[in-house]
Symmetry: C2
Subunit: 409 residues, 2 copies
């Protein structure tokens, strides 16, 4: 009898992907699944038979509380896409044998659009075999680029982190009585959701960024420089938030304009210069002659659990739980996303969308939320994003640092 | 009659320099100083007569609470050293005229060793003029390199930030089933106190960094690569914390080994490649053939108030207050530092040291706290540093982000 549930995590980590795992685990136990198994390193590890019984690990409430506060993927992750089963059935046979051996009734996969592709393929394959196993996707990505959900769990925490540290960087930028331009580089190779979150630093005590550059609009050098020149004439410290994915009119990433210059590292090899902010800071320095500095917000954007949004943690937990409920009720090939009921008061519900409508697609920042000059956001963005960064979940500090939980410790 | 007190902030900001300002302000009012004036942009702004009455700004308790939670220098800062008065008396005349005009009885300067030089010179000049004005220094620097104090206010918060985010980066680094080396670059051009704080990420749930490189020891390339090779054979994810100030045997900064390669930026100008972590990551990649990544912890180390140490905030406030008391009691030319009474329980007191013994000197990490191979810290460091990162002061979140207070908003 198919009495157990299997869950995996895939793609880049977030601050709240483990909150979804907590939601899946607790709901699965509540719905009567006997064992909850975890895939180690996603579908890639599963193909090697790497599977762990989570009942032994997450049984007590303190483990769940730590899990909600631990960034990155507790189970480990992968970036692996299954082949079409018409082309290569072998991995499917391996997986379905394993599901049978472990009496798996439901498979949940927490991830982005590549992970939804995995769920779509497994569900489709299962259907051809009349398998009773249900396959449900749980959305997760800091990029907020998934269709079929108002927003993605993981985005709110990344947005809160970006808004908070940009606010602190703005404090830091005006400390000396000097004119300067600070360029903060924010994640998001294809969409500008994360860079747009920089605008949330604005408040009664902070003017926020002066310019926000998104990949949704081509970079217009002269318009940009003209605006920067005007801003430096107006005030001392100018702040620019730039998505790493900003491209010029020819569709070339600004960061590639740096690295294609044929630079070598100190050892004579091709240099790795991550560089949208560096490119823009150099451009401003050379063309306008101001003091500039480039700051990369780095990988912390996806792993700063100490500054996670409680709204995000709660919703991540909820979609995990609702995905279990959907599987229990016989649904398959669906992703359990978030529907917004109202902005004020902010209220949401969970809802299912066929994964085939989600996989391999990308949701961009709506054009009408970007100002006509392409250099900032309209108030619609704040109306959408501000509720997602509300409230906090205090870390459990031990010895002065937040405590986490790991599978291998 | 000299009934007012003047306070300034100088040098690089910290997360708690404003807590010292809060301590100065509240104590000055309690000791009966009528007005507390603030220098805008330190001694540099003061020379231009830029001075603000803080009674109008910090009078209510909510302002004080926000001040304790606002990073960077509320009053603005400068990097300005006074000339010897024997060489150029003019700025001294300007300043002492201004002190007299505003009935200043005490001048407090919150800063690092350059600021203590300013206090030393003002006190010495005052003495030659039989001035009744008292000059007291309040220590502040994330670098922890000041003599005359067990540790500097600002260091504990930077250390807590570094330990916390390294812990989160370590979670992030082990998400895929891949061998990799992560090099985190930490501030500290001349001393390794901040890089050493990376070791505080270690706990029951985290192994901490595998290697810590400090400027106190010359970088030995072969010893280092041998150790990294051994570590990559032992475990999947190797973590290195490197001070930006690491130098080779010839005294050349590793980051200068990158930028002296004659690189040009995308505009044909000399490239600015900040790069100790980049240098090390490239070295490991080229010599050992592993996947590496370089992360700079950036300016957030000095301005992450959202993650400040409550111990640090409390002590920063205390030295500010005790400095006022010292001035009130007739002391001058002194810095009010911290004396450690015991490690466990952690207890401290404040104490005065003549600024002349502090100015222009530098305290390094003791040689015996570094392991013989120069690649890690001994337990003595943790005994010293662990108490400094204890406890938190919750930010006041408004609209999802921490609220701050500014002079100009």
């Amino acid at each position: 009898m198919a009495t157990n549930l299997l869950v995996g995590q895939s793609g880049g980590p977030t601050a709240v992907i483990n909150a979804s795992l907590a939601g899946v685990f607790e709901s699965a136990r509540a719905f009567g699944y006997e064992h909850v198994y975890g895939m180690q390193y996603g579908i890639e590890g599963l193909l090697e038979g790497r599977l762990v019984d989570l009942n032994d690990r997450l049984g007590d409430k303190m483990a769940i509380e730590l899990l909600k506060r631990t960034p990155s993927s507790y189970l480990g992750s992968c970036r692996c896409k299954l082949p079409e089963f018409a082309v290569n059935e072998k991995p499917y046979k391996t997986l379905f044998d394993l599901f049978e051996r472990h009496s798996i009734g439901a498979v949940l996969y927490i991830g982005g659009n590549d992970s939804m592709d995995t769920i779509a393929k497994l569900a489709a394959y299962g259907e051809t075999k009349n398998s009773p196993i249900r396959f449900i996707g749980v959305p997760k990505t800091i990029d907020n680029d998934l269709m079929g959900t108002d927003h993605t769990p993981g985005y709110g925490s990344a947005a809160k982190y970006i808004a908070t540290i940009l606010k602190e960087v703005i404090c830091d930028s005006s400390v000396y009585d000097l004119r300067s331009v600070t360029v903060a580089e924010i994640m998001g190779r294809h969409t500008g959701w994360l860079a747009a979150a920089a605008s949330l630093s604005k408040g009664s005590d902070c003017a926020g960024p002066d310019i926000i550059l998104l990949p949704e609009r081509p970079f217009e050098e002269e318009t940009f420089l003209k605006r920067v020149a005007d801003l430096t004439a107006e005030h001392r410290s100018v702040i620019i938030a730039a998505s790493e994915g900003v491209k010029n009119r020819d569709g070339v990433f600004l960061c590639d304009l740096v690295s294609t210059a044929g630079q070598l590292d100190a050892f004579g090899h091709k240099a790795i210069l991550s560089g949208t902010s560096r490119y823009l800071a150099d451009l401003i320095r050379v063309r306008l002659g101001c003091k500039t500095r480039a700051i990369e917000f780095s990988t912390l954007q996806r792993c700063a659990s100490h500054l996670a949004s409680r709204t995000d943690i709660t919703e991540a937990y909820q979609v995990g739980g609702a995905a279990v409920e959907a599987a229990f009720n016989g649904q398959t090939g669906q992703m359990c996303g978030i529907v917004r009921l109202s902005d004020l008061p902010y209220r949401t519900a969970t809802a299912l969308t066929p994964v085939a409508q989600v996989a391999n697609r990308e949701k961009k920042v709506p054009d009408e939320w970007i100002t006509p000059d392409g250099l900032h956001l309209t108030p619609e963005f704040e109306r959408y994003a501000r509720p997602l960064i509300q409230a906090e979940l205090t870390p459990i500090y031990i010895n002065g640092v937040p405590q986490h939980i790991h599978l291998d410790v």
